[in-house]
């Protein structure tokens, strides 16, 4: 039986019929399951780019020098994703020091402060400080990404989940955190709209990186703020939203995640079992952080077949195969191998199901 229904067309691209994704389709127990592949965060900088950034911080290189070098590296990563046949292409975000920095540096009413640990990692971010209600004239994504490299691609934009950003910030303004998160969501939506309008990039999906929402059990009001932010992004951009969780088990959000309003929810398979996913009530579409961004060991397809099989059997119609989070926890050569592993996992699964 042939389960993969894609056809190779003359220019080498694959078409799946629904016009949304170039996918591999598989017959699950109940329905046909599509596998789509993309990366879920920043990709690593080279040693040379790190050195140039340090020189820039000391005033010995210009920002244009940095942008020039980053543009070249970025181009290599975009090309690599295309070569691997990824369904959505993401900018490698080489100019982003952390998830919040471009917005914290550029939005009015927000500044950056000292360093804080990024969850349970030996990685630190600069704490955004909300000194007033945030505002923006736009242009942040244009300036911190390389849109010219994304034109003609089906693109996933990766943004901070608004409640995560607010929760990890310092607030010197009298405002409810949930309310502030929704304001952040609206500003992000504005940035996306302006980015699309100015650059002509075709954004098919917006990913909200949301580690905070699973780092502990949120209260009802907090969960509602997450959902409202998702809705604001969805309505404000007219784009599908992936709420991507990582570092902590999805079960921490089991009582609300299915009602978050996201088109897709992502989870970190290094800390979440298939049973935990199924117990959340999520169905339809799911994103699996199946390649561990924080480990140098490259996953073999046979190691993840069991998990994929369980999700297919459970009837998910579309499974996104992705990294647990940013891949800049590993050096570039490991990141490349990890991206190749995503392709291999898809290939192995589709081959096995035939």
């Amino acid at each position: 039986m042939r389960n993969a229904v894609h056809e190779l067309i003359p220019d080498g691209r694959r078409e799946n019929g629904d016009g949304v994704f170039r996918t591999v389709k598989l017959h699950g127990k109940k329905d046909m399951t599509e596998l789509v592949v993309h990366v879920s965060g920043a990709l690593p900088r080279s040693e040379e780019l790190f050195a140039l950034l340090r020189r820039h911080a000391r005033g010995r290189a210009t920002w244009e020098d940095v942008r020039g070098a980053a543009r070249e590296e970025s181009s290599g990563w975009v090309r690599f994703q295309k070569e691997l046949g990824f369904d959505l292409i993401a900018d490698p975000m080489l100019l982003w020091h952390d998830h919040f920095r471009p917005f914290a540096e550029r939005w009015s009413g927000v500044e950056v402060n000292g360093l804080a640990r990024w969850f349970d990692n030996n990685v630190f971010y600069r704490v955004p400080v909300f000194k007033g209600r945030p505002g923006s004239r736009g242009g942040v994504l244009r300036d911190y990404l390389f849109p010219e490299q994304l034109v003609g691609c089906r693109v996933k934009l990766i943004l901070p989940e608004p409640f995560t950003m607010v929760a990890l910030s310092e607030r010197r303004v009298e405002v409810d955190p949930g309310e502030l998160a929704v304001e952040v969501a609206r500003l992000l939506a504005f940035e996306v709209r302006q980015f699309v309008r100015e650059t002509g990039v075709s954004v098919e999906m917006v990913q909200l990186s949301a580690p905070y929402v699973v780092s502990r059990r949120l209260g009802d009001r907090e969960a509602e703020a997450v959902s409202e932010s998702v809705r604001a992004l969805r309505e404000g951009t007219g784009t599908r939203v992936l709420l991507h969780t990582f570092f902590y088990p999805l079960s921490n959000a089991s009582d609300w995640i299915a009602d978050s309003g996201a088109d897709v929810v992502g989870f970190d398979a290094t800390v979440t079992s298939a049973e935990e996913v199924l117990s959340t009530g999520l169905r339809g579409e799911i994103a699996v952080g199946i390649v561990d961004s924080r480990s140098s060991r490259v996953e073999r397809p046979d190691e993840v077949m069991g998990l994929l099989g369980r999700l297919v059997e459970a009837g998910f119609s579309r499974i996104h195969l992705t990294t647990t989070t940013d891949l800049d926890y590993v050096p570039p050569q490991v990141a490349r191998a990890k991206l190749e592993a995503l392709r291999e996992i898809r290939a192995a699964y589709s081959g096995r199901r035939r």
Binding site: P44, R45, E47, F50, A51, L53, R54, H56, A57, H97, D98, L115, R117, D120, N121, N122, V123, F124, Y125, R126, P249, A269, T270, V271, T272, S273, R294, S295, S296, R297, G306, D328, Y329, V330, P331, P332, Q333, V334
Partner: protein, 375 residues
């Protein structure tokens, strides 16, 4: 040695200025300037060697180490080392000497700051000593008591990838339990095969004060209990005074477990969180509130709260250092439990700034002592 408010360094200094500027005309002048100031014996020899370019890398590092020792001594510290002049970076210095640890490349810590990260690909074992020769050199030159800093096993584990131990765990355990067991096994193997051999060699060579550096310790708070047990195993039967240095952390995560730790001193960072105004009020000394936890949990070990901030060029007035020490003594209810030191190593400061910070540390401790001697 001072009985109250003993003064000690924490570890690193930036590279000796003459070594940093090697190859430039200023290099020899730096050697001369600092040699005179620190009263380094034979510094003219270094000056001439730098001027003529007739110095080997090995000689240069020995000189840097000697200058580091004299730096602390000239400032008046009671306990000294060499400013880690032989080390590239605390993690890499040790991990590069561990069998089955393979350095894969540079990864981000924040912004453009990075470190070279290794993968554990088998049972780790110490291939060659990382600190022994360095300690022997310092011991042969130092005129004050010596404390040798050693990177701890938890930080080695947490800052490395694990490609080996996780694979030994059954998939049926589930992802979290697999990881927990893998990390426990790795930590104990690092203790047994890497750190204990290093500590034993140091103790056998005469080291009587050893500082275990664990900046990663609170990264995963649910592993503090595991670490306390591993630490106690690590120091078992070793005749030395052990200091545990943990910096830039949420110290509340250490409690209650660290009360059971067989450690003699805790070195923590506080000045970075404090105000710059002298005084003994809780408001002025908010950076030291964590010391209440030490008292609440009846921690018997001495505490070395940082009284100078190593991430700023601001030179703390001696009166501010004094008040921080007095406040710490008040919270712990025992001045004899307080040691005077910096928040962390002074690696990020220029030598000029670092030297001034050392001097105010010594002056501030002296002022604090006066409060108890009545003079």
């Amino acid at each position: 040695m001072s009985e109250l408010f003993r003064t000690q360094e924490v570890g690193s200094l930036s590279r000796a200025p003459f070594a940093k500027k090697l190859g430039s005309p200023e290099s020899a002048e730096e050697a001369l300037y600092w040699g005179k100031l620190l009263r380094v014996e034979g510094h003219e020899e270094l000056y001439n060697a730098l001027r003529s370019g007739s110095i080997t890398q090995e000689q240069l590092i020995d000189w840097a180490s000697l200058y580091g020792i004299r730096f602390h001594e000239a400032a008046g510290l009671d306990v000294v080392y060499d400013g880690e002049q032989r080390r590239v970076e605390m993690y890499e210095h040790l991990i590069s000497r561990v069998e089955n640890a393979v350095i894969l490349g540079r990864v981000k810590v924040w912004d453009a700051e990075t470190y070279r990260k290794a993968a554990i690909v088998g049972v780790p074992r110490l291939r060659e000593h990382a600190y022994l020769d360095e300690f022997l050199f310092v011991k042969s030159k130092a005129r004050r008591e010596v404390k040798v800093p050693v990177t701890g096993p938890y930080t080695l584990m947490d800052w490395s990838y694990d490609e080996f131990y996780i694979q030994r765990q059954a998939v049926s355990l589930g992802p979290l339990e697999r990881r927990r067991r893998a990390r426990e096994e790795l930590l104990y193997d690092l203790v047994e095969n890497v750190i204990r051999p290093e500590l034993r060699a140091l103790v056998d060579a005469g080291a009587r004060r050893i500082q275990i550096d664990e900046p990663a310790l609170t990264t995963k708070p649910d592993e503090v209990r595991l670490y306390v047990d591993a630490f106690n195993e690590m120091v078992k039967g070793l005749g030395a005074t052990f200091t545990l240095h943990v910096c830039y952390s949420d110290y509340s995560k250490l409690f209650p477990h660290i009360a059971e730790m067989k450690v003699h001193e805790f070195s923590i960072e506080c000045a970075n969180r404090d105000t710059l105004s002298p005084g003994l009020s809780e408001e002025m000394r908010k950076g030291y509130s964590v010391l209440k936890l030490f008292r609440e949990h009846s921690v018997k070990a001495k505490v070395a709260p940082g009284v100078t901030d190593v991430h700023t060029d601001f030179i703390e007035p001696p009166e501010l250092v004094r008040d921080r020490l007095l406040y710490a003594a008040k919270l712990l209810d025992d001045p004899a439990q307080v040691i005077a030191c910096h928040d962390c190593g002074l690696r990020t400061r220029r030598w000029e700034v670092a030297f001034e910070k050392e001097r105010v540390l010594v002056k501030g401790a002296m002022l604090a002592r006066r409060e108890f001697s009545g003079s």
